[in-house]
């Protein structure tokens, strides 16, 4: 029986070491080609006429002037007169022309008349007296209840009373069962009445209040209670490569170059709207300039590009969003706010939690932050209000709703610690028994983080009492994520000439996907890294999951491991007679096939591969694959992060001096790219903690800062010292490979906000911690 389990790191030349990414040279030399760079002869430029109003109905469209313009090759009405438009920037008419300037001129020549309707873009605290929504609950609502620890009896009561607005598929129900949902909840779901979605015209949709334990009694007897409002506004992904694609037809076959996190999933999404078989759609992408959760879909503009191409006789049409369009329509992270009441006993142990939370994710909602984050507080009362606003819809943003939940939980937690005059690290220790399955990890990580930050020497009670305007403070936060590997199929070939290549319909977001696959194959077979070629970015390769939710590394590494073990074992079976040995007596070390007990009996790699025969030796690796145990991936990580900041109380400017991240992610394949993921997450975290906010104009409903000047992201000068510690060794390595993209980006907002409160002695309630907010908090706190 072949041995698929992950080998001990100590025995491996590459796995777990710091290996430079294989696509580093092509990227650093400027030769890496991205979708935006696709530039074939005859390329047409696609542009879109967009609605300038946040809410309107299309009255009429006149494209005649545009159609007559020289150089315009195709015009496609996307939304017809009579259609109600719900956000500014929505797509109305597409144009393809010989160059971008001509396409822009044509867009300007399109006349669209609108009936302008009232819009709503505020995500301020909802009115207090709203009645809970009693309509049927959606699939998302049910998922939100699950994330929010709503007790099963209350979920069942809601299902019985309100019904559901969707028909649950058997597959979905099976998945819920697999995740451990209580059979009584499943039964209630099956029995629930399916009703049409409620016609709630209000922008507010409030859930029923859910309760656990006896919060009133717990608050009444608590040693300390903290009440406050906390939150983060909507922020934007800001992928440096904007969304977009290039489509071209050859007969009935379509080729799509697209900037996507979901290469294997694009053809199926484009097939229906284009009324063409998915099998005839080729999807290609070698490199992607950032996704962060916003690039899973074949978007409407991608479909429009394909339609324009068809109208233009199949010529390639490239449709890349401008930066401004990107800000309006290509996704954002939902906001997250809450009025929180939290209480502890005198040892710092949390006894009660109450939250009235609200958020917006555009018209479609943005899910609900899981509150309280991580802590299973025994007594809870919670209610959430989703606010529909007239702006482009939310999309997944690295660890959806976790950063919001961390701010809404860890900031009041730290405020409560200050009330108890406790070190928040000590208060975290006092609550280890309610931190769930990762409690032991948090405890170990907290010790290490404290040392790396010098927490014990440098932490002080709230408010830096030293003289001078610059105050220094420390803060912390914790986070969790799943990160189980996704489905992945891969084809591995060992060729008779000795070359080794693997094909998989995956994508490398800069996380190092290519590199970790090659490392796994090289070490598993026993050959140098340079001998492995990894092919990704083509949907003719075996399908692999989208790169979201930190699922890629676990999926692709597990499938690569199985493919490589099988390939090595098959090769050894072919070579064994020549070495007069049994296959299990052989090993491959640095490309030499040899008898373990007598290393003088060996074959060079090329001589060994010559025994394969005329056609390559091929294997198919899969994840998951129950026929080839063990499970090589896992779910559930924990991290602790700490921030050291300086705040100038005269200017309100916050600077991050240092961040510490201590993170587990199971069995590490490439330590270098793993550390880079965490550092990148810290930087993105500093960026949203201090600078980022999508600002909507209440008068026009439009984005006021749709550019990288007024929507600020962190630069090299803003980040301070970054210290990353990966948890490895016993207790970690044997868990299998777990994803890392999301978890470390969760905590920085809360940790930095806590450090600022520690420095200046008052809480700045909302992120980003801009100078105006800091000065405002100082003034309200009587410290200005």
């Amino acid at each position: 029986m072949s041995q698929y389990e992950w080998p001990d790191h100590a025995t491996q030349p590459l796995i777990g070491k710091r290996i430079s990414r294989l696509d580093g040279p092509v990227k650093s030399s400027g030769r890496a080609k991205y979708t935006y760079d696709y530039n074939p002869d005859g390329l047409l430029a696609g542009k879109i006429a967009r609605c300038p109003y946040a809410h309107a109905r299309i009255k009429g469209i006149d494209t005649s002037a545009a159609e007559k313009m020289p150089g315009v090759k195709a015009v496609e009405v996307i939304q017809k007169p009579g259609t109600e438009i719900f956000w500014a920037g929505d797509e109305i008419v597409g144009v393809a022309a010989v160059d971008e300037g001509t396409a822009e001129d044509a867009v300007r020549a399109i006349k669209v008349e609108y009936d302008v309707l009232p819009h709503f873009v505020s995500d301020a605290e909802p009115p207090k007296n709203l009645a809970p929504d009693t309509g049927p609950i959606s699939q998302d609502d049910l998922g939100d209840m699950e994330d929010n620890q709503v007790p099963d009896d209350q979920v069942i009561a809601i299902l019985q009373k309100q019904g559901i607005s969707f028909t649950p598929s058997e597959k979905w129900i099976k998945a819920m069962e697999g995740e451990g949902t209580d059979p009584k909840v499943i039964a209630a779901l099956r029995a629930a009445k399916v009703l049409p979605p409620s016609e709630n015209k209000s922008p507010y949709k409030r859930t029923a209040t859910t309760k656990q334990g006896d919060p009133d009694k717990a608050f009444a007897s608590a040693a300390a209670t903290q009440e406050g409002v906390y939150g983060i506004p909507c922020i934007v992904h800001c992928c440096l490569e904007t969304h977009g694609s290039a489509s071209e037809w050859s007969g009935n076959d379509l080729t799509v170059h697209i900037s996507t996190q979901n290469l294997s999933g694009i053809a199926a999404q484009m097939a229906a709207p284009l009324n063409t078989p998915a099998a005839g759609i080729r999807v290609l992408q070698q490199n992607i300039g950032g996704g962060f959760g916003s690039k899973f879909a074949a978007d409407r503009w991608d479909v429009v590009a394909a339609r324009l191409s068809k109208s233009a006789g199949g010529k390639p049409v490239k449709m890349m969003l401008s930066r401004e369009e990107e800000f309006e329509v290509a996704g954002m992270r939902p906001s997250g706010f809450a009025r929180v009441k939290i209480a502890a006993d005198k040892s710092g142990k949390l006894v009660a939690w109450q939250s009235n939370s609200w958020n917006t994710g555009g018209m479609g909602g943005g899910g609900t932050p899981p509150l309280p984050y991580i802590f299973d507080v025994p007594n809870q009362r919670k209610q959430h209000t989703a606010i529909a606003t007239n702006q482009g819809s939310a999309r997944a943003w690295r660890a959806p709703n976790h950063p919001q939940a961390a701010v809404i939980t860890m900031c009041p937690f730290e405020d409560l610690a200050a009330k108890l005059n406790m070190d928040p690290a000590a208060m975290l220790r006092a609550n280890m028994d309610i931190l769930g399955p990762r409690a032991k990890v948090y405890a170990e990580e907290l010790d290490i983080a404290e040392q790396l930050m010098g927490w014990k020497q440098n932490w002080h009670p709230r408010g830096d009492k030293t003289a001078g305007p610059v105050k220094r403070g420390l803060g912390l936060s914790i986070h969790t994520w799943g990160g189980r590997g996704h489905n992945s199929d891969q084809d591995l070939s060992i060729n008779p000439d000795g070359s080794v290549d693997l094909k998989v319909g995956s994508q490398d977001l800069g996380t190092g996907t290519r590199t970790i696959i090659a490392i796994v194959i090289a070490d598993t077979i026993g050959i140098p890294l340079e001998m492995v070629t990894v092919h990704i970015g083509d949907n003719r390769y075996p399908p692999s999951g989208g790169s979201g939710g930190s699922t890629t590394v676990g999926g692709v590494s597990s499938a690569a491991r199985r493919a490589a073990v099988d390939a090595r074992d098959q090769l050894l079976a072919k070579v064994a007679p020549a070495l007069n040995a049994k296959p299990e007596e052989l090993e491959v070390v640095n490309g030499v096939v040899r008898v373990k007990a007598d290393q003088s009996r060996s074959l060079s790699w090329n001589d060994a591969c010559a025994k394969i025969g005329a056609v390559p030796l091929t294997t198919r690796g899969k994840n998951p694959d129950k026929s080839k145990p063990p499970d090589l991936t896992n779910s559930g990580v924990g991290g602790v992060e700490m921030a050291d900041v300086s705040v100038d109380v005269e200017t309100g400017i916050v600077r991050v001096n240092k961040m510490v991240a201590v993170q587990d992610c199971g069995y590490i394949i490439d330590l270098k790219t793993a550390e880079s993921q965490v550092k990148g997450a810290l930087i993105m975290g500093i960026s949203y903690a201090l600078y980022e906010e999508k600002v909507l104009d209440p008068v026009t409903g439009r984005v006021l800062n749709p550019n990288l000047e007024f929507y600020r992201i962190a630069g090299l000068n803003d980040i301070g010292e970054l210290v990353v510690h990966m948890m490895t060794g016993k207790g970690y390595d044997e868990r299998g490979v777990i994803g890392l993209g999301e978890p470390p980006v969760v905590s920085p907002g809360a940790a930095i906000s806590n450090a600022v409160a520690n420095a200046i002695g008052v809480r700045v309630p909302f992120l980003p911690l801009t100078p105006d907010r800091v000065l405002d908090a100082l003034e309200k706190g009587g410290r200005a």
Binding site: S20, R21, D23, G24, P25, K27, S28, S29, G30, R31, A32, K33, Y34, Y36, D37, N39, P70, G71, V98, D99, E100, G101, T102, E104, D105, R108, A109, C238, C239, L240, E241, N287, I288, G289, G290, F292, S322, R323, L509, G510, T511, K672, T673, E675, S676, K679, G680, A681, L682, I683, M684, N707, L708, E709, I713, A714, G715, L716, N717, I719
Partner: protein, 206 residues
């Protein structure tokens, strides 16, 4: 583009930022009037465009020519007409540095220079900085220090870092923070880029 595809010059109904750049660059002091461009009063400035004109650029030691509208930026000319796609279009308004190139050995944002104005200048792009298959020392250091993830900001950052290190071979941390603040990265690779510059200051490439 074939000539028959060329757009006829015609009055614009509005002035966009791109048009404004075109207009203000063509006649240095030309006042903008909706729909037309007026001559500068005192200077004898030849009017170019708005149709295509012949533009010749000196790029990476080669003369490259194309028929371009005067509103076309250096960045778009490099990318769309000469297939030099190392410089990226990210913000398209001089904020992010992803399109950084050298013009007469000075760093410029190619999105904020018109191709017509770049004539007669010595343009160097990322494509000229690797010698054949051999990476430049700065490129090698970017690989070694993992100063790149998605790689979209990387070419601009490497042009900027190379030029910065030529001028400041042993940068202090403070010089480095200021000198490399003209480029944005979204994946968060600044720590690796700092390591590149510090290793250079210490006389090591990796």
């Amino acid at each position: 583009m074939p000539d028959d595809e060329r757009r006829k010059p015609e009055p614009e109904s509005g002035v966009t930022r791109r048009d404004f750049m075109k207009i203000s660059a063509v006649g240095v002091a030309a006042p903008v009037v909706l729909g037309s461009v007026m001559d500068a009063a005192a200077e004898d400035v030849p009017i170019q465009g708005p149709g295509k004109v012949s533009i010749t650029l000196q790029v990476n030691g080669k003369k490259l020519s194309a028929q371009l509208e005067p509103r076309v930026t250096l960045l778009d000319a490099l990318r769309d007409n000469f297939d030099l796609t190392g410089a990226k279009r990210v913000c398209d308004r001089g904020e992010c540095g992803a399109c950084t190139v050298l013009m007469d050995d000075k760093l410029v944002y190619a999105c904020s220079v018109l191709a017509i104005d770049a004539q007669g200048r010595d343009i160097k792009t990322i494509e000229s900085m690797a010698e054949g298959d051999a990476l430049s020392p700065v490129m090698q250091a970017f690989v070694a220090h993992d100063a790149q993830q998605c790689g979209f900001c990387t070419p601009g950052f490497i042009v900027a870092t190379t030029s910065f290190l030529q001028k400041h071979p042993t940068p202090t941390p403070d010089e480095m923070r200021r000198g490399l603040s003209g480029n944005f990265c979204r994946c968060g690779t600044y720590d690796g880029i700092r390591a590149v510059a510090l290793a250079h200051a210490g006389g090591k490439q990796s």
